[in-house]
């Protein structure tokens, strides 16, 4: 520990600083490093702002996202109380943007959570148990990997009908593959560590070891991967919406808004500009946070 015994000549001061200094955990260190990363901090600030806007915004706006303004078709921004203008049906773009952001973030978070649960359980089990089971489980992952992602999602949507829940599940069910591979790799490495051996010697069962010792130690890489998965899920949803397979009117998402905006870009450019800016801001924030976390948490990369 820095500070302790720095000045052996002055015993009193040494004692004082020793009392004042608490031990710092690895997480404290990581947090500190993260806070020093300007891009990540900016990302967190922007994301906090977007989240607040997505959650509270729609309640503070005088327009509903599906409210058609029959005399307000293609209002310019700031006309008629519409801060960001209106679309071809006279619907307030700000209200739609906030709802779209909410839907996109929700899809990002929920689908990532689905991928997290499946991926961590699968990877940790395969990695820890090892042997034939590991082989089998990872070959299943390989097989699923070989399915084209979008094709698989479209197939699910066609089979089970179009609904937001299916969209969540479909994307999550595909995104867990990489997660399980990362987790498995880490688990195989952790398995050799002494504390696991100690736990085994103490007579803990395999599920207990996985839950209590393996998974908490996986947190670092998992957190990093999660922050990087959310934006890729948001992009995947946007892509599906672009193809008309995503959320259905009048509900919207960032991808749908951008798709519509791109159609009308020469008549109503604000319909493309504002959603794109928000989308870029959200994706960049997530990626900066993910990058920052990776640098902060993974000690091997320093």
């Amino acid at each position: 520990m820095i500070g302790v015994l720095r000045n052996p000549a002055n015993g009193r001061q040494t004692l004082e600083s020793a009392a004042a200094i608490k031990g710092r955990s690895l997480w404290d260190d990581a947090g500190r490093r993260l806070m020093r990363n300007r891009a990540a901090v900016a990302g967190m600030a922007v994301l906090a702002l977007l989240l607040t806007a997505a959650i509270l915004g729609p309640m503070l706006i005088p327009f509903r996202y599906d409210q058609i303004g029959k005399n307000d078709v293609w209002d310019l921004p700031l006309v008629g109380g519409h801060l960001l203008g209106t679309d071809s049906l006279g619907r307030d773009l700000l209200a739609r943007l906030l709802i779209g952001l909410r839907v996109s973030l929700a899809i990002g978070v929920v689908a990532t959570a689905v991928s997290l649960v499946i991926g961590v359980a699968w990877g940790a089990t395969a990695g820890y148990v090892g042997g034939q089971l590991d082989e089998l489980m990872m070959r299943i992952v390989d097989v699923l990997y070989s399915l084209p992602f979008i094709f698989f999602v479209i197939l699910l949507m066609v089979t089970f009908g179009r609904s937001l829940i299916i969209l969540f599940l479909a994307i999550g069910a595909v995104e867990w593959l990489t997660m399980s591979r990362i987790v498995r790799g880490q688990t195989v490495a952790l398995k050799q560590k002494e504390f696991i051996e100690a736990a085994r010697a103490a007579g803990l069962t395999t599920p207990a070891i996985i839950a209590r010792h393996i998974i908490p130690n996986l947190l670092g890489p998992v957190v990093i991967y999660v922050t990087l998965t959310i934006p890729s899920v948001i992009l995947a949803e946007s892509f599906l919406s672009f193809l008309g397979m995503g959320v259905q009117e009048p509900l919207t998402s960032l991808g749908t808004l951008i798709a519509n905006g791109a159609e009308e870009r020469d008549l109503a450019p604000w319909l493309l500009i504002f959603p794109s800016v928000v989308m870029v801001a959200a994706l960049m924030s997530f990626n900066f946070i993910g990058d920052g976390l990776r640098d902060a948490i993974d000690p091997k990369d320093r």
Binding site: A39, L89, P250, E263, D291
Partner: protein
């Protein structure tokens, strides 16, 4: 990205090879650690941020390489001379931001300034090729299975019926040089010209008789069969009550075709150019069965023959040298693209990739007509067509209730859709048969048509309440619609109108040909459909609601009084009285809210002004054989 192939150097005694030797062309020294010789390059998760110079290097050379930690190279010598800086936690510095901003600016400039070069389809040297945006993918190229305008566009170029379209879409002699009608109007004798199929076999009257019997055979299940029930015994044959040989069609010799009718039909020459009456090559169909319409077997008698069909991408036809009038055909090749997204198609027309697109998103028409846009390309004209909402009365219990249908019908704000949303010249529809149809006076629209929207909404809510739906028990339905430009615009408006009267509707979009397939199979609850006149007569619209129509009566509307009036009109020789019967039938159908008419269509085509021979007309048929290029 051109990362050069890792070259493993032998670990020799050479203590200090020159710098260039180690890593090929060297990027400027900076925070850059290219371990080119290291087979593990790129395997690490870390990426070292290139500095400003590095970004410039990437911009100039297009080379990107990722370095990792300072690692000894394959020979155990530490390579990077200045590694430590790159090993700090990644953090973008101002110079990186500057470089990023420059890069973005460059990309944006490239995207904005560089007009995309036109990428036209392949065209043999010295030939004239027409690139045709056809708005949807055909379901089949067998004319007996065609039902969409986009299929007729292709069929009309490949096949020629007894009559064919002139530039105005009026019937002129086609395979039939001339025809005579018996005094009672029931027997038509067509005299065929000498003509050949594209495989050299002569076209005979028997081909026509054969294909009419085929179209009407129950096994063929043509959705358009009801259109030619005017032919003697056609309905009975189609329903399997009489054998195909009982059909009132004879071919006494190879060049004479006699058609006997159930009742006089002065519009027969118009019907005769329709897909359903186009000939099919008997010798090919009998050999290949349904597969005859595959490009490998397809044989045509029109100005073009089928060259290829890349499903979902394009259909290509080339000039048929055996066509009797081949010398007059200007374009050597026509390629049809399924341009569902008409805004994208509009951009392709602007770039010169497409010469024609058969649709324009309505709310862009005024914009495109501005002098600095492409006013000369925009072609609009009155069209005999109506857009309507069909109610599935067969499978959806709520929609069997006339009050519910009427409530949904009344709640649609047609003025908004026609004048504010689409604003392309469409007119609100409260009746079903479009204005301008020959020999017809439409019935007065329902009384509620003149009410204010608020009053209509109140009446609709009352009707729903009577039918047992209200705030406590809301009506929930699915509204299936085509994903082409205009339906994508107006269906959310209708959805919102229905929400205002407390009806929750989910939208489900589909490609047009899939949507219509679903409608015919009754695989829908509410459907957005449009109907274009097959010939200039009110019956082409009204018979959609006839019990005997079958698949194309999407909602399975059934009213004996309506059927009886239509049957009476068929028998009525006096045009005035016939029109009165039909108007009476239409008002029965409107009062029943058999469908909810939304607006009357206009036809809107985007045509490159260098194309000649394109005449705007009421049926919107423009055959490729009549088109040419300026100066040819």
């Amino acid at each position: 990205m051109g990362v050069s192939e890792p070259s493993r150097r032998r670990c020799g005694p050479s203590p200090n090879p020159p710098l260039e030797d180690r890593a090929g062309p060297n990027p400027p020294q900076g925070r850059y650690a290219p371990l080119r010789g290291d087979p593990e390059v790129g395997s690490s998760l870390t990426r070292v941020q290139p500095g400003a110079k590095g970004w410039l290097w990437i911009l100039v050379t297009g080379r990107v390489s990722f370095g990792g930690e300072a690692r000894p190279d394959a020979c155990g010598r530490g390579w990077p001379r200045k590694p430590p800086r790159s090993l700090k936690p990644t953090r973008l510095q101002w110079s990186d931001w500057l470089a990023l901003a420059l890069l973005l600016a460059l990309l944006l400039t490239l995207a904005a300034c560089g007009p995309k070069p036109a990428i036209r389809g392949p065209c043999p040297a010295g030939k004239l090729c027409l690139e045709y945006g056809n708005s949807a993918e055909p379901e089949s190229l067998d004319p007996s299975k065609s039902s969409g305008t986009w299929e007729t566009h292709i069929n009309g170029d490949l096949m020629e019926g007894l009559t064919q379209d002139d530039a105005e879409g009026r019937p002129i002699p086609g395979m039939a040089k001339s025809w005579t009608v018996s005094p009672d109007g029931l027997t038509w004798t067509f005299h065929l010209r000498e003509a050949k199929w594209s495989d050299g076999v002569p076209v005979t009257a028997d081909d026509f008789a054969y294909s009419l019997r085929r179209v009407l055979s129950p096994a063929q299940a043509s959705e358009y069969a009801a259109l030619i029930y005017v032919i003697k015994n056609a309905e009975a044959v189609n329903e399997g009550r009489l054998p195909p040989s009982a059909l009132g069609v004879e071919a006494p010799d190879p060049h004479t075709l006699v058609i006997n009718l159930e009742h006089p039909a002065p519009y027969l020459p118009e019907l005769a150019k329709h897909d359903i009456m186009m000939p099919t090559p008997r010798h090919v169909v009998e050999r290949w069965g349904d597969a005859w319409s595959q490009p490998a077997h397809y044989v045509s008698n029109g100005p073009y023959r089928l060259a290829e069909w890349a499903f979902g991408d394009h259909v290509r036809v080339v000039k048929n040298p055996l066509y009797y009038n081949a010398a007059s055909v200007c374009f050597d090749q026509v390629t049809y693209y399924p341009t569902v997204d008409s805004v994208e198609a509009e951009r392709r027309v602007r770039r010169g990739e497409l010469d024609v697109n058969t649709d324009i998103q309505s709310n862009r028409i005024a914009f495109l007509r501005q002098p600095d846009q492409i006013p000369a390309y925009v072609r609009t004209h009155t069209w005999l067509g109506v857009v309507y909402v069909a109610f599935n009365t067969r499978d959806v219990p709520a929609l069997k209730d006339k009050r519910v249908r009427l409530a949904l019908d009344m709640a649609i704000d047609r003025d908004f859709i026609a004048y504010k949303l689409l604003r392309g010249g469409q007119t609100p529809a409260y009746t079903f048969v479009p204005p301008g149809v020959a020999d017809y006076a439409a019935p007065a629209p329902p009384a509620w048509a003149s009410w204010s929207l608020a009053k209509r909404q109140q009446a609709a809510r009352d009707l729903l309440a009577q039918a047992g739906f209200g705030p406590g028990h809301p009506l929930r339905l699915e509204f299936k619609h085509r994903n082409t430009a205009d339906p994508m615009l107006f269906t959310p408006a209708i959805q919102a109108d229905w929400k205002d009267i407390g009806v929750r509707v989910d939208l489900a979009q589909e490609e047009p040909q899939i949507a219509y397939q679903d409608y015919r199979l009754r695989n829908f609850q509410l459907a957005d459909a449009s109907w274009i006149a097959d010939y200039n007569d009110p019956v082409t619209f009204l018979n959609l609601m006839q019990s005997s129509t079958g698949a194309q009566n999407y909602g399975d509307y059934h009213n004996p009084a309506f059927d009886a009036l239509l049957a009476k009109a068929d028998e009525e020789p006096d045009p005035k009285r016939r029109a009165a019967y039909l108007a009476q039938a239409e008002s029965i159908m409107l009062n029943d809210a058999a469908v909810a008419p939304v607006y009357f269509l206009i036809n809107k085509d985007l045509v490159n002004p260098r194309i000649t021979g394109w005449a705007d007309n009421i049926v919107d048929w423009h055959r490729s054989r009549l088109l040419c290029v300026k100066g040819r």
